[in-house]
Subunit: 247 residues, 2 copies
DNA sequence: AAGTGGTCTAGACCACTAC
DNA sequence: TAGTGGTCTAGACCACTTG
């Protein structure tokens, strides 16, 4: 075919044509040349410009829709999106990896462990019926000699019965669960609290020190798997998130 | 064509065929039926199964690659990805929207405003050469009668000269920037700090109260746009993030 | 060497919607 | 109603990688 020889295998071969179209249009948008709300060329115009078929242009523009950079309306055309809510991708690293990133040796200790039926105090933390069997764990993570993070976790033993007999010697409860139990949904709540006496004691900080708390609940197919509250000494820790374009 | 009549316009018409293929494969993966590392059917096999052309299957699998659910290797086939790092999507709402979500009336006040050349103290906060013109703003956001969040912002006037004369009457500086300046990269740091006297005074809280701090820096094409530090009274605020599968 | 995915085409029909 | 995007096809060639 003519188009294939003319543009599809163009000398700048390394990138495919639809990738080049994506990059070109993206460049026009982020540079401000095509500002939010502007109409970008119709598919047919881009076909002429790049000397390719409509499918190729359509594929490229489809990716830009997925990326949230443009919106398309039949008969009207394609328009540069107006940014709506920004979304940051917060990577949830394993605590071992967080400590390793600091260049410090990592270890953890299980400081409390109890198998029990879910009590009323648990029900606010994990999405269970009263009386369901749970495993309650407390765990302290160290970076070098210093406590790095205190963990308070509930595991739903109906969903993960193997946890009852797992010693958690090599892998921390979090790492063990991630490796073993696929999750389909989860929720985070991130906040700041003044360290209560008990937390201050285990973390080796003064009472009242600001701490970053991360509460994470995980479900698989609607069934609660685990709920964990992580407490980091505030001065010693920052969550770092990388932005992604509107999505 | 035979395929088009048989499956393309099937009775379950509402979703397109490639969307249905995406949903089907995604279901097999998240349900665990196709565990991480498993090979999924070849394109040709899926073509037979759905009675469609290779392009349609290819489009669907391409989306799953983008979503990080599968990886594809020529000659070998397509495989369910092994989860790497978990990532939570943290939605960065406009503060007005956050307050509105609480059902409270929103307003903000600009409490300080200065145009100056970047000083050494600024350079740690924003990615600029010394002497570059910046706009320094302090802003207080209210939920009802109570202070909700204190904002301390620097704007690079080389990148956004219009900010110099913008009164920020209708839109807060953050909302104004989001609407006006497309960003290409940004970074967040989330931490906890004990309220210093100045912050405690403006937020109406006791000195030492744990506060959630969010530091956000934004760039466009490598040029710093703005840097903002938001301080929320810790007890009054939680960041909520929703999990997404591996990405 | 064979088989897979990666890409592209030229055309088609349809649905939606702006005019 | 006309024009746009949404979707799909049947075939083709290529590049890569595994066996």
């Amino acid at each position: 075919m003519e188009g294939a020889n003319e543009a599809g295998r163009a000398p700048r071969a390394t990138a495919s044509l639809h990738q080049r179209i994506v990059a070109d249009v993206e460049g026009k948008i982020v540079s401000g040349e095509w500002p939010p709300g502007a109409r970008i060329p119709f598919e047919i115009e881009l076909c002429d410009f790049y000397g390719c078929s409509r499918m190729t242009v359509n594929k490229a523009l489809g990716r830009l829709v997925d990326a949230g950079l443009i919106e398309r309306r039949r008969k009207a055309g394609s328009f540069v999106s107006r940014p709506r809510s920004q979304a940051a991708v917060l990577e949830i690293h394993d605590i071992r990896a967080e400590v390793a990133a600091l260049g410090l040796p990592y270890r953890f200790e299980i400081t409390a462990r109890a198998r029990r039926s879910a009590r009323s105090v648990d029900l606010g933390r994990i999405d269970l019926a009263g009386g369901a069997p749970v495993l309650a764990l407390r765990c302290l993570h160290f970076a070098g000699e210093r406590p790095f993070c205190a963990e308070d976790r509930l595991i739903n033993l109906s969903a993960v019965p193997e946890a009852a007999t797992e010693p958690f010697e090599d892998l921390s409860p979090g790492a063990w669960l991630v490796a073993r139990v696929p999750w389909t949904d989860a929720q985070h709540r991130i906040g700041a609290t003044n360290a209560a006496r008990a937390v201050a004691a285990v973390l080796g900080i003064d009472v009242g020190t600001a701490c970053l708390t991360i509460e994470r609940r995980t479900w698989r197919a609607g069934e609660a798997i685990t709920s964990v509250e992580l407490t980091y000494p505030g001065a010693a820790h920052r969550l770092v998130a990388r932005f992604t374009p509107t999505s």
